[in-house]
């Protein structure tokens, strides 16, 4: 049972002494962190603290200058975004990376379309699966054939998250998922994040909204000027402490 135990506790993603520089600026300075399985980890910090750089490194969109990235306990060699997706990590980008002119179902399967003989799209099976997926997540859209550009900001966000949920095997990285959303839409996205955890996946969420972070997360990582300065268990800390850590009072 020991092996199974270790397997279950292996972080879905782990950074070891990761450093990233842009010219003379060190955006991330020797950061080590681990995202455990089945958990929501929040990454907080002031503007320019290095949060987005961390999420880009995990997404494979940036290559660290030093240090290691481990996925499922194994060192990741390639940094191509396609390979990162294949390793079971999905990213919800701040701009969502949806094709506005294509419909909901097509976006959910974009780049991963299912085909029948002779390369014809298997539209029936993709529609069916898209319908099931949105039903499971309780995401409302007028129709699967609605173009994404016709949806509200919240609906688009929900589609991007639903897509990530569908394809992620271990981890979904979200960069400011509710920054542009209204109250009800934000509630929806928060539900989706909790659903992911219920499904046994982890979520790394970059957020400015501390109330939200306390509502959702199991663990809070605080960054300041490229350094990871604190690692709290959410239940054992307070907003006040986190704010002081972010601003450097502590």
């Amino acid at each position: 049972m020991t092996t199974t135990q270790t397997q279950q506790d292996t972080p879905v993603v782990e950074l070891k002494e990761v450093t990233k520089r842009y010219g003379g600026i060190t955006a991330v300075n020797g950061v080590s962190l681990a995202v455990p399985p089945r958990s929501v980890v929040a990454l907080v910090g002031d503007n320019g603290a290095g949060k987005s750089t961390i999420s880009k490194i995990i997404a494979g969109a940036e290559h660290p200058d030093a240090g290691e990235v481990l996925v499922g306990g194994e060192t990741r060699a390639s940094i191509d975004p396609t390979d990162v997706r294949k390793s079971g990590i999905e990213v919800v980008y701040q701009d969502l990376a949806l094709a506005p002119n294509l419909d909901v179902a097509t976006n959910l399967f974009l780049g991963r379309e299912r085909v029948k003989a002779f390369g014809w799209l298997d539209r029936a099976s993709m529609r069916k699966e898209a319908k099931e997926l949105l039903g499971q997540l309780d995401v409302y859209v007028p129709s699967l054939t609605t173009k994404v550009e016709r949806l509200s900001g919240g609906q688009r966000q929900a589609i991007a998250i639903a897509r990530a949920t569908h394809w992620a095997k271990s981890l979904v990285v979200m960069d400011e998922p509710t920054a542009a959303l209204g109250l009800r839409e934000t509630a929806k996205v928060e539900e989706l994040i909790l659903t992911l955890r219920e499904q046994g996946k982890s979520v790394l969420v970059v957020s400015h909204n501390l109330e939200q972070v306390f509502r959702l997360s199991d663990q809070i990582l605080v960054m300041r000027r490229g350094n990871l300065v604190a690692d709290f268990q959410t239940q054992q800390t307070t907003t006040d402490t986190v704010v002081k850590t972010i601003t450097g009072v502590i």
Partner: protein, 349 residues
């Protein structure tokens, strides 16, 4: 969690976690049933325009609504249809190919030179001509997609180069006496339908399926919508863009072969200035010049509308200059109608 709607799934209650907020409408997720406000297709304006013009011409001229005249229109628009269909692939990616008519002239000239002047077997001549089209497409595609040069500039350069090369190859003199197969392709009927029209229809039908029913087609439309989103979603953007330019050049080559067959004459001045008519046909058919929307059927109907207008003006004895004016007006009108239609659809949505 507060209990909310009766539809709430037991044990999840996801909808209810925003206390005090009204619940969303009942679950209509993925309703496969189409609403009554089905969006008209992209080529709606072109078809409506073609019908309108046809009705008017039927009243104005006895010669218009005859089988003979209508098959004639199909044959005359075949080359335009084939080129506009190719253009559609490039336009979908938010690109443009201004070199299509030059490529067409180059291909036609090359076929004439190889099969007539050098007396090559027709099969070999066709193979080498298509290989030439392939190379032109690859050059366009690689320069645009890999080296990120503006498509407008690359293909504007191509327009000058390929036509210049075609003129240079034959010294400005046209070749006639093309092989039987080529003239058959351009001039004969099959079961009462002109062969060039059949070729054009086959090209459109296959292209429409490729655009709507394959991963490549979805990828092209995604690239036109947002290249960076397509890239991050795993669409092979570079490869698909190159393929779009290659298909466009190969169809321009096919158009050149059909055209020299029709005229039994091959030379560098074939179809001078036709690239603008090709782009007009696609735009009239609702293919967006900004990428991401449109269908080869649109290219087809756009070409047909232009063809009917030209035919009608011929029947009425109007000058070629007036035809040019009419086509220009129709281009702007069709795009205006298309924009209005989109705006209405958006308001209703």
């Amino acid at each position: 969690m507060t209990p909310a709607t009766p539809q709430q799934t037991p044990g999840r209650g996801l909808r209810a976690s925003a206390p005090g907020l009204p619940s969303e409408p009942a679950d209509e997720v993925g309703s496969a049933r189409r609403s009554w406000r089905v969006e008209p297709p992209d080529w709606f304006a072109a078809v409506a325009g073609a019908i309108l013009v046809a009705v008017v011409l039927t009243f104005l001229s006895d010669a218009f609504l005859t089988t003979n005249n209508l098959t004639n229109v199909l044959a005359q628009t075949a080359v335009l249809t084939i080129l506009a269909t190719g253009q559609c692939f490039v336009l979908l990616t938010a690109g443009i190919d201004l070199s299509v008519s030059a490529t067409m002239a180059f291909a036609g000239t090359m076929l004439g030179m190889l099969t007539v002047t050098y007396e090559w077997p027709v099969i070999l001549g066709l193979a080498v001509t298509f290989a030439g089209g392939l190379v032109i497409g690859l050059i366009n595609g690689v320069l645009v997609a890999r080296f990120a040069l503006p498509a407008f500039i690359v293909t504007l350069g191509g327009l000058l180069v390929w036509r210049g090369l075609a003129l240079q190859m034959v010294g400005g003199i046209n070749t006639t006496g093309l092989p039987d197969f080529v003239t058959w392709l351009g001039q004969e009927d099959v079961l009462g339908v002109p062969a060039p029209a059949l070729v054009a229809l086959a090209v459109v039908a296959v292209s429409a399926l490729v655009v709507s029913r394959t991963r490549f087609g979805v990828g092209l439309r995604a690239i036109g919508g947002s290249a960076s989103a397509a890239q991050r979603s795993g669409v092979p953007v570079l490869r698909y863009k190159v393929m779009a330019y290659v298909i466009c050049s190969l169809l321009a080559t096919l158009g050149g072969i059909v055209l020299v067959g029709r005229l039994d004459s091959a030379g560098g001045s074939l179809g001078t200035g036709m690239e603008l008519m090709v782009i007009s046909a696609a735009a009239i058919g609702g293919v967006s010049l900004f990428g991401g929307s449109g269908s080869p059927w649109g290219a087809f109907f756009g070409a047909i509308l232009i063809g009917i207008i030209q035919n009608g003006l011929n029947l009425l004895g109007t000058s070629a200059f007036v035809q040019q004016i009419a086509t220009g007006v129709i281009l702007v009108l069709a795009v205006a109608v298309d924009q209005g239609r989109r705006r209405l659809a958006r308001r209703w949505a």
